[in-house]
Subunit: 187 residues, 2 copies
């Protein structure tokens, strides 16, 4: 399956992913499920935005979409509540070995993240380098620091290594990204 501009989804690249062949999205879905079950946070991935052009009704109760197209997302993919605070992030995989191309994120999504932080929300990026299966969390402030100081069209991997936080892969939770974030407990 192909995804619209900027949405990259790599399928099972044979060996990687700790042998289990999970995509970042699958890992995050499992992790968010865990967070909800353990009552740690309520975070969901938003549905993929589409425009529907044609719907059929083969029966009274059933509706089948027969034509639809992917829309450019205006927000990030994930949001929710953690310790009473609004939390919001975008997650991307890249096959690139040395840097994360900024073309992977829509300008609207970057702008959205910026505003969330201005409004006092917790905003960040999660980026997985699939070649080494390393997943980093880059806090909003560090992301925007890079954007305002660099003209490069990609963030070098060493920036993630130095400024970001490596999220270890675990069993349960699979990808404990909330551990990487400092939040005053206001719950």
């Amino acid at each position: 399956m192909k995804y619209p501009n900027g949405i990259q989804k790599t399928f099972q690249s044979t060996i990687t992913y700790g042998n289990r062949g999970m995509t970042l999205e699958e890992d995050l879905n499992l992790t968010n499920e865990y967070y909800r079950e353990e009552d740690i946070a309520i975070i969901y991935k938003k549905p993929t935005p589409i425009t529907i052009y044609k719907v059929d009704y083969p029966s009274r109760k059933e509706a089948v979409i027969k034509e639809a197209r992917f829309k450019t997302p205006s927000t990030t993919d994930y949001n929710g509540i953690y310790h009473g605070k609004y939390i919001d992030f975008e997650a991307k995989e890249t096959k690139d070995k040395t840097s994360f191309p900024l073309s992977n994120i829509h300008p609207h999504q970057i702008e959205h993240l910026r505003r969330i932080i201005e409004h006092g929300g917790i905003g960040f990026l999660i980026v997985r380098f699939t070649s080494t299966n390393e997943t980093y969390l880059l806090e909003g402030k560090d992301f925007f620091h890079f954007l305002s100081n660099e003209k490069r069209k990609s963030i070098p991997k060493h920036y993630f290594e130095e400024v970001g936080k490596l999220i270890p892969l675990g069993f349960r939770p699979r990808l404990d990204y909330l551990k990487m974030i400092e939040v005053k407990n206001e719950k």
Copy 2:
């Protein structure tokens, strides 16, 4: 329609906006746009959740969904950030003149709202009675108070009138629902 700075134009409210054929969803979209433009809050409607079965690629860059079905939503439709707080609500219209049938809201959505409130978020319902074009905000605590004290399968309209808050229809913002909510300013 936009007017130049400082020029305010109020529409005749005698004929009511009902005659102009806007749905609750359209009113809320306009209102959320206004809130974002004025930097009051960042609130979006989530895309409709679907399951995609078949995608065609008429050209390299284009993807057309050829078969998809609607999924039962696991969360409410609207969420975002307001004064640094997580905000979450469901909005429904009913043609019923005397009550709001609870069958309009999925059990998953009710459960979601309950958990959001437990986690310190702001959660509520917006219900429009289309026969009179009245729109009410019912705070989460009042909604759950009803659910735990009543066995009825619908909420009588007088409960909205007595316990909820009538949201007046305006021009800009169209439906100023945030005004009905008391939030400590933590922005």
